[in-house]
């Protein structure tokens, strides 16, 4: 569903060049939930922007639903970390969710049906007529998620979506994303720097090295599909995976393509 092939990104200015991505290569199967984890400064945002078609890689390519990405691809929805800035403050909640559907030129009836369904999914049926600034941060991020699922994407990309909300809201939103993924079977790639979050959410975790970035390791998360904040997190297997992932990230902080290939 999502294929990233030997991607390299070098930022060049007149007299300097900075290699953010060296050779990033991975695929995400249809219906899979993958978390992308890396130490801070591991080129996660660069990688995401390249996948979303907002930036051109220097080498390598991206395919979404078997189509090469040159600009922002069809069938891909992006949820940003900065929910407050990603929503349109001059539109009501329902209008925010509806706007991309308008741009898809869907008939009004279908738009309204999708908006109602998406808002119900995230539990915001009663806030349809509010403005984004009237909602809490967690609720605003729910709106952004509703907007993404109303779009019915093949691939849902999430860029550290819960990095700026409080711990309780975060746990709720994690369960929400998990539920949406299971109900709607949307291929999901979730970028985070939080190890617990990655293990709790994903079916598979991809660990990135520090810059210049390569895929350092892939880990299968063999936890039961039904996850729960209390019982899942207290499973011995959860602790083991968490431990492994932590060690891997520690290694990633000092490792990059330079040290690993050397």
């Amino acid at each position: 569903m999502l294929e990233v092939t030997h991607m390299q990104k070098i930022y060049r200015t007149a007299d300097t060049s900075f290699e953010a991505l060296r050779d990033v290569h991975f695929t995400v199967a249809p219906g899979e939930f993958v978390c992308l984890v890396g130490p801070s400064g591991s080129g996660k945002t660069t990688l995401l922007k390249c996948m979303a078609g907002l930036m051109k890689p220097s080498a390598g390519s991206v395919r979404v639903a078997d189509k090469a990405v040159s600009g922002p691809p069809e069938g891909l929805a992006l949820v940003f970390q900065e929910y407050g800035r990603s929503l349109f403050p001059w539109l009501r909640i329902a209008e925010n969710v509806e706007l991309p559907l308008k741009e898809l030129r869907l008939p009004k009836k279908e738009r309204l049906a999708r908006v109602a369904e998406a808002l119900a999914h995230v539990g915001l049926e009663n806030s349809a007529r509010s403005y984004p600034w009237q909602l809490s941060g967690g609720m605003q991020q729910r709106v952004a998620i509703a907007r993404a699922i109303a779009y019915r994407p093949d691939v849902l990309l999430m860029d550290e979506p819960f990095a700026a909300v409080d711990a309780q809201t975060r746990a709720e939103l994690e369960d929400l994303v998990r539920t949406i993924w299971r109900d709607l079977k949307i291929t999901t790639l979730f970028v985070t720097h939080d190890i617990d979050e990655a293990v709790y959410l994903a079916e598979r975790v991809i660990v990135l090295s520090s810059t210049p970035t390569i895929v350092q390791r892939e880990m299968i998360v063999d936890l039961p599909a039904e996850r729960d904040q209390l019982s899942t997190r207290s499973l011995p297997r959860f602790s083991e995976l968490r431990h492994d992932l932590y060690a891997e990230i520690q290694k990633a902080k000092t490792h990059s393509a330079l040290t690993i290939t050397a």
């Binding site: 922002p72 940003f80 403050p89 706007l99 991309p100 779009y151």
Partner: protein, 286 residues
């Protein structure tokens, strides 16, 4: 998340190019005190003016007592020629402001969203903008003669830059995250214009129009005074040359009231159009 939106529109007549001045925030309690203080100030000026001539500080023909001016004002309010002059003034002002606003917004959006175009024109804009509209009086008289088109050209020239500069600045203020959101959802060019650029620029555009409205009125009256096109400015010139000084002062008061009315109307429009925006700032500031 509030930092981008709460430093939006500018206040004051002369905003320098591409740099908005932060808007003053009004509080309900302060407003009542402001009105009281304002009235007290007006009253004191009226009171001082009343006694300047009787006390021999100025000659009565230079500044008649307030009561005499008020009597002349009352007389004027019954004259149909005065209302005709008010109508002519508002007519030129409104058409001039409308043309300047539409042109300023259209050109501003073009310059603001096409970077090479903006760079190519910025020195030209910076050269033309500071030319006082009044300096064009000989030119427009040469082309149109003492007709209302002359006044209109001056008004449009002066008001246009106010709207243009604010619009360019507003277009540049689009949040990169909002822009990326629109791009990733594959908004059309028109969709980006309609749903992203236009609402972002709107507070700036409204500020530009508010500044332009004041400037347009100044230029309307100036043109009528200097060129002699019909309107309040012409009436003032006639009263002055006829030695009817109390009448002249009364006419000046009327132009002042007109200016006040213009400001109030534009502010009301601004408040309505930017309801979401005002509330956003209120929410963010508390």
């Amino acid at each position: 998340m509030s930092t981008r939106l709460d430093v939006v529109p500018a206040v004051g007549v002369e905003a320098s190019a591409f740099t908005p001045v932060p808007r003053r925030r009004f509080r309900a309690r302060g407003r009542v005190t402001n009105v009281l203080l304002g009235c007290a100030g007006l009253l004191s000026v009226a009171l001082v003016a009343q006694f300047l001539a009787p006390l021999g500080i100025v000659r009565e023909q230079d500044l008649p007592p307030t009561t005499v001016i008020m009597a002349a004002l009352a007389g004027l309010l019954g004259e149909s020629t005065m209302w005709m002059a008010v109508y002519d003034t508002i007519y030129v002002w409104a058409i001039g402001l409308a043309v300047a606003s539409v042109a300023g917004v259209v050109v501003g959006i073009l310059l603001g969203s096409i970077e090479p175009l903006r760079r190519a024109t910025s020195s030209t804009v910076e050269f033309l903008r500071p030319i006082p509209s009044v300096a064009l009086v000989p030119l427009v008289v040469l082309v149109f003669g003492p007709r209302y088109e002359s006044a209109l050209v001056l008004v449009i020239y002066a008001a246009f830059w106010q709207v243009l500069v604010q619009t360019v600045y507003g277009v540049a203020d689009v949040d990169p995250v909002v822009a990326d959101t629109a791009r990733s959802y594959r908004f059309s060019r028109w969709g980006v214009m309609r749903y992203v650029i236009w609402p972002t620029a709107l507070p700036f555009v409204m500020t530009g129009i508010r500044l332009a409205a004041t400037v347009a009125l100044v230029l309307t009256v100036t043109a009528q005074l200097i060129i002699g096109t019909p309107g309040l400015g012409q009436s003032i010139a006639q009263a002055e040359s006829g030695g009817a000084n109390a009448r002249m002062y009364a006419l000046v008061l009327i132009t002042g009231l007109l200016g006040l009315a213009v400001n109030i109307v534009v502010r009301l429009v601004e408040k309505r159009v930017l309801a979401w925006h005002m509330s956003f700032r209120k929410d963010a500031s508390e």
